[in-house]
Amino acid sequence: MKVLVPVKRVLDFNVKVRVKSDESGVDLANVKMSMNPFDEISVEQAVRMRESGTATETIAVSIGPDKAAETIRTSLAMGIDRGIHVKTDAEVEPLAVAKILKAIVEEEKPDLVILGKQAIDDDSNQTGQMLAALMGWPQATFANSIEKDGDSLTVGREVDGGIQTIKVTLPAVVTVDLRLNEPRYASLPNIMKAKRKPIDAKTPDDYGVDLTPRLTTVKVAEPAGRTAGVKVADAAELVAKLKEEGVI
């Protein structure tokens, strides 16, 4: 089974988000960037499938500026076989990402595309589902367990009420949730080895995809802040305050 793993370079999850004073966006200059945490989980899953023999080849794809190659390199150091870097400095919306991925899927013919359920920058939660629709494939989103059974996958999904289990016939798209696995740290020898793994450089034009955004950002603002309130000394004081507020 051939597995394609799209990965995204985002603001590191530990970095405090700062909104630019002109409200044009979030300040990304000179801040630490990392692989989207959900994508680390999909990379880990693909690598485990490769190690167990379920997957025969794993390919990471990233769409973004020159530095997105670093994110691909991270996935190669974790154990992915090779990379495809679609270079662009433009901001690419999930719909355009899904269209580029569709073109890559048609070229590479993977049996499974596995990716994070959402990126922690725009929190869209769309790309996997959109790719599945464009391909006419089934989807299993928010996976917290995946088992391969012949030409299908049984996937446990984290849903609002608990866990839902569904079966999808391959080829399929799976998006992963937090508790699917614990991603590994790349070892130094693997980081060295990753430097020799190939990354194909491509452009959106190679795939004939129009990146013109459909959404324009009018402004990005700081949410209304909350300030620290008062300290209470005991339960009696707390209950009295909550009664005053009329919330109990």
Partner: protein, 317 residues
């Protein structure tokens, strides 16, 4: 034309998230000067459709009753909704795990860039949505002719009831779902649902174990509250995943949120900081949760929570 709202339900009950999504749709409709319809897609949805018809301001309810829609899996929902969109300018669904699952499929088939998790409607084409786990609010304008939108229910008040819209049955989906439902393990609880509860009491890593959640459950039962948890508590296996409040779990905005043994990671705050009143109980007085809490109580939770329970009992709860 008109706006379509996709109802959230479990084939038996219409969920409150639907009423809140209708509020967002009515705001959009007001700017456009058009009507709002509701689609109820499921299996055996007569009661749900009747409940949807009672929401004020709704023109009509479309009911699609078919076995392939019982679980509202994404592929089947796509089959029903995409053909309907010839007659609508916009489609809205709550950003529950169900809506998040099927809506982008509909958007892709319509060649529309979806606007996810909106928290405000500025006009018929301009919306506010949280990004970076709610650390920034983006105002975005869509140039797509049709709009595909998911709505953050906690950001909108529920639409009133009192309407009597007609229910129209529509054709079955053209082809069956390509994914197959196997089973479901739903958490059973007599307490209110997390996202709909007026009071939520959540435990964090500080709870130490799943058994220890019993002490906050007692308080929850006194107050008629739902029980939530931080990601740390879920990852540690204390409670099931569906209790998680936060960026990647549920977003709640109750009247009262009580955080017990929760330090206040950004990830968690993203899911609860719009609560009206926040109470934090933590023994670490430097915990970030105190920076956003209206009432902070620096105390060992294992003493504080039973004290709170006793005090509530005394007050007649």
């Amino acid at each position: 034309m008109a706006i379509l709202v996709i109802a959230e339900h479990d084939n038996e009950n219409l969920k409150d998230a639907t009423h809140k999504t209708v509020t967002a749709a009515l705001a959009l409709a007001k700017d456009k000067g058009c009507d709002v319809d509701i689609l109820v897609a499921g299996k055996g949805v007569k009661d749900v459709s009747a409940a949807a018809a009672k929401i004020s301001g709704v023109r009509k309810v479309l009911a699609c009753d078919h076995i392939s829609l019982k679980r509202q899996l994404a592929e089947a929902m796509q089959e029903v909704v995409v053909p309907l969109m010839d007659g609508y300018d916009a489609v809205l669904a709550p950003d529950t795990t169900t809506g998040k699952n099927f809506m982008p499929r509909i958007a892709a088939m319509l060649d529309v860039m979806q606007i996810s998790s909106i928290s405000g409607v500025e006009s018929a084409d301009t919306f506010v949505r949280p990004i970076y786990a709610g650390n920034a609010l983006a105002t975005v304008k869509s140039s797509d002719t049709k709009k595909v939108i998911t709505v953050r229910p906690t950001a909108f008040a529920p639409a009133a009831e009192g309407g009597s819209a007609p229910v129209e049955t529509i054709a079955d989906p053209a082809s069956p779902s390509t994914s197959e439902f196997i089973s479901e393990e739903l958490s059973k609880s007599d307490r209110p649902e997390l996202t709909a509860a007026k009071i939520v009491i959540s435990g964090g890593r500080g709870m130490g174990s799943g058994e220890n959640f019993a002490i906050i459950e007692k308080v929850a039962d006194q107050l008629g509250a739902a029980v939530g948890a931080s990601r740390a508590a879920v990852d540690a296996g204390y409670v099931p995943n569906d209790s998680q409040v936060g960026q990647t779990g549920k977003v709640v905005a109750p009247e009262l949120y009580i955080a017990v043994g929760i330090s206040g990671a950004i990830q968690h705050l993203a899911g609860m900081k719009d609560s009206k009143v926040i109470v934090a109980i933590n023994k670490d007085e430097d915990a970030p949760i105190f920076q956003i809490a209206d009432y902070g109580w620096v105390a060992d939770l294992f003493n504080a929570v039973p004290e709170l329970e006793a005090e509530l009992t005394k007050a007649g709860y």
